[in-house]
């Protein structure tokens, strides 16, 4: 399983699937000109586009994935006057994760399967400048664990980059929507799919893979943005030449040694070992390092895969040019809960004990927040960010302990501690984690992180399963129920250095929409009932609330156009939230008094697919 990616130039794909309506409309400051030239007309470079605060040029806004916008026309004093400026139906009724991009006068957004990409002309009534729908075999639909979501397109080199469901990466001319190149990655017939938003760094497109519930051996790949050919590919587990580890790769300051990606597994289990990489990616241009996390080891039955299962559940720091791992940190060795480690890595310079540290901050599914020195992988702090976390008492921070850096696991809540075919009850958090892919935001003004969270617990019963390529490979039953207090979500302002929660807003359902924070002192997020919420960054006080047509699992973004600040979010309930919570949860331990159960999400919202854009009144 070495690098097998193939690539084809644009010549082979001369037939255009896109619908080209007209010539160029809107290229903002660095607009190209001509309408008739074949191939892409150079748009602004990503660096140019991203440095203009009016734009939202990257899925996570910037390399550091802060989702902090310096825009401040909308502020804590006037946010209560927000109103809907315009709306757009995507024409697709599935879970809408992710966020649009805005570059100059054009907005780009992608729908769930069939992954239609729209370019909207912000200068002319949001007219559809072009749209592109790839041709994909519908057999990919059921292979997508937990809905046919897509977390957004990326921009660079005058191209829009789409990682489509069937695991093909496509580059489109940002101006015309014509295919420039197309690179298939691993096969969806074996369960490998694409749901992530790519990250563009210089001439590279970084993409991962989904398929942890199908035993897909996870990897991250760098493609050349000019023609799509693969520059490097690094697996999450396997021999050192597959995982791109060398003698300088460290974990917690020490060299990891040889062959860890095979020796920490029984037999050949690593070949179907998961560790998929479907989350978010960030980058430090000074250190030249790419950061991301790997997901759950396959199967969910831990008894079938003894060992630490390296390097699933791991934070990776890789050299952007070679892919070689500089340092790694495995958060949840030998996972027994499905606590994927793929959530975003936010790069922020934080004050720790009076000194400024180049930090990487991560809020993991396992309920712990991690602060590491992103230069060398030193572990600085690890705290529970939800009070209900009970599978661990915390991370061993004693540097002289043999268990340094490992979570101290509570056997009662560790499925596998008494073997398979046992029902382990009352584990918090549930498999969806205290936070899933919905990104948090970091505000340098308040020095706080704003985190949409889940407050859900579970019973987990593992049992043996057989592996068949392209079929689900799970091996556990889990029953979820609301966490202590009877609610399922919390939106919190949190300090990961001290572990203190500045404020929290409890929510009936999980908070599954990504957060945005702004220089105007306003934090935005969306709820599963469909509300776009604006709250005061300092206090959490609600400033504005509006019910969009469907539940929100998308991430709020903002941009400035024509001198006006806009805030936009995709609605469209679905994803794992839509599957797990549609019928409501029941508490199996609450006794007869709980008959009737908890609220069902389907009583509040129905399928939809809409972008809602907000602004202040007036011109």
């Amino acid at each position: 399983m070495k690098c097998t990616g193939t690539w084809v130039g644009s010549a082979a794909f001369g037939l255009v699937a896109g619908l080209l309506l007209a010539g160029p409309t809107a290229w903002g400051q660095a607009a190209g000109g001509g309408t008739s030239a074949p191939g892409p007309t150079p748009g602004p470079s990503l660096a140019q586009a991203a440095s203009n605060p009016d734009n939202w040029a990257m899925p996570s806004l910037n390399d550091a994935a802060t989702r902090y916008s310096p825009l401040k026309q909308i502020n804590a004093s006037n946010a209560s006057h927000l109103q809907v400026a315009w709306t757009f139906s995507t024409g697709v009724l599935r879970g809408h994760e992710g966020q649009p991009l805005v570059i100059g006068d054009v907005m780009y957004l992608v729908t769930p399967f069939p992954n239609t990409v729209y370019a909207l002309d912000l200068n002319h009534d949001e007219r559809i400048m072009w749209q592109y729908t790839p041709t994909q075999n519908p057999d990919v639909i059921p292979v997508m664990c937990c809905d046919t979501v897509n977390r957004g397109v990326a921009y660079g080199d005058g191209k829009i980059i789409l990682h489509q469901a069937d695991n093909t990466v496509v580059a489109l001319s940002a101006q015309t929507g014509k295919e420039v190149w197309k690179t298939p990655l691993a096969s969806y017939k074996e369960g490998a799919t694409g749901t992530d938003a790519p990250l563009v760094v210089g001439n590279k497109v970084i993409v991962g893979v989904s398929g942890g519930e199908f035993g897909v051996q996870g990897f991250i790949a760098a493609l050349d943005i000019s023609d799509g050919h693969m520059l490097w590919k690094a697996f999450s587990e396997g021999p050192d030449n597959q995982i791109l580890f060398d003698s300088h790769t460290t974990s917690l300051g020490k060299p990891v040694g040889a062959n860890t990606g095979v020796d920490s597994w029984k037999g050949d289990q690593w070949k179907i070992g998961g560790g998929d990489t479907w989350g978010w990616y960030s980058y430090d241009p000074k250190l030249h390092l790419l950061y991301y996390g790997s997901g759950n080891p396959s199967t969910w039955n831990p008894v079938q895969r003894p060992g630490d299962n390296k390097w699933s559940m791991t934070i990776f720091a890789r050299d952007i040019d070679t892919g070689v791992a500089k340092w790694v940190y495995q958060m949840t060795p030998h996972d027994q809960w499905d606590y994927d480690g793929v959530n975003e890595m936010i790069l922020a310079d934080l004050r720790v004990d009076g000194r400024e540290v180049p930090a990487l901050v991560h809020f993991d599914r396992n309920g712990l927040s991690y602060v590491l020195n992103r230069a060398n992988g030193e572990l600085i702090a690890a705290h529970k960010y939800d009070p209900s976390v009970n599978w661990t008492t915390g991370v061993d921070m004693n540097k002289s302990s043999p268990n340094y850096g490992r979570p101290e696991v509570v056997a009662q809540y560790a499925p596998g501690s008494k073997g398979a075919n046992v029902n382990y009850t009352g584990i918090c958090p549930a498999a969806l984690g205290n936070k899933d892919e919905q990104p948090a935001a970091f505000d340098p003004q308040t020095q706080l992180f704003y985190i949409p969270t889940n407050h859900v617990c579970m019973d987990y019963e593992p049992y043996p399963v057989a592996y068949t390529a392209g079929q689900p490979y799970v091996g556990a039953t889990l029953s979820m129920f609301p966490g202590p207090g009877g609610y399922m979500g919390r939106f919190i302002a949190f300090d990961p250095v001290t572990g203190k929660t500045a404020w929290a807003i409890n929510d009936q359902f999980s908070d599954w929409g990504g957060a945005l924070t702004t220089a105007g002192g306003v934090v935005f997020y969306g709820t599963l009932k469909g509300y776009l919420q604006a709250v005061d960054a300092k206090t959490g006080k609600e400033l504005y609330s509006f019910k969009t047509p469907s539940g929100i699992i998308g991430n709020v973004m903002t941009y400035m156009h024509g001198g006006k600040q806009y805030v936009a979010v995709l609605s469209g309930v679905g994803g794992w939230a839509g599957i797990g919570l549609a019928a409501g949860l029941t508490d199996p331990h609450a006794g007869l008094g709980a008959v009737g159960g908890y609220a069902a999400l389907k009583d509040y919202t129905a399928l939809g697919g809409q972008l809602t854009v907000f602004a202040l009144p007036g011109s």
Partner: protein, 180 residues
Amino acid sequence: MKRGSRLVMATLAFGIAGGIAALAAAAGDTTPGDAASATESNGLWTDKQGAPTYHIGKDGTVDWGTLVGFLRYSDSCLRCHGPDGLGSSYAPDLTQALKQITYSQFIADVAGGIKAVNTSQQLVMPAFADDKNVMCFIQEIYSYLKARSDGAVGRGRPAKTEPAPKGFDEASYKCLGIPQ
């Protein structure tokens, strides 16, 4: 129909339950249809027509096959059809769907998959014919969903259940092809 019957035969041969040992259901217990004619073998109950069914004792004890169905449903079906067969934003409510189809149709749908892809929807259920995690327990999964559909079993893991019949684990491993 023809395809369905063939699949039923194949499944019975493939499944871990089977055989003809018979236990008459005690009066007052809950089984659908003609309770007196339902029979039990290796923890799995079967009705007069040969379709798997559930059996709930007077004290609410749920039969073993139905429990196994609950567990294996969660393994292979829950990620689309939601907890307890109740449907989700992604796939239909099976407690309703089971009222509309026969056991043969159920087997045909599970083994062969369903596709409804058009301009207004993209619903695809995969074919599970080659998936041992499903096909080794297809009768149990049907028993469980039938019990859910009839309202005989509530949400979540049944609280009180019959113990595993002797040799069940060994038979499961053997059918799945996993060394113990």
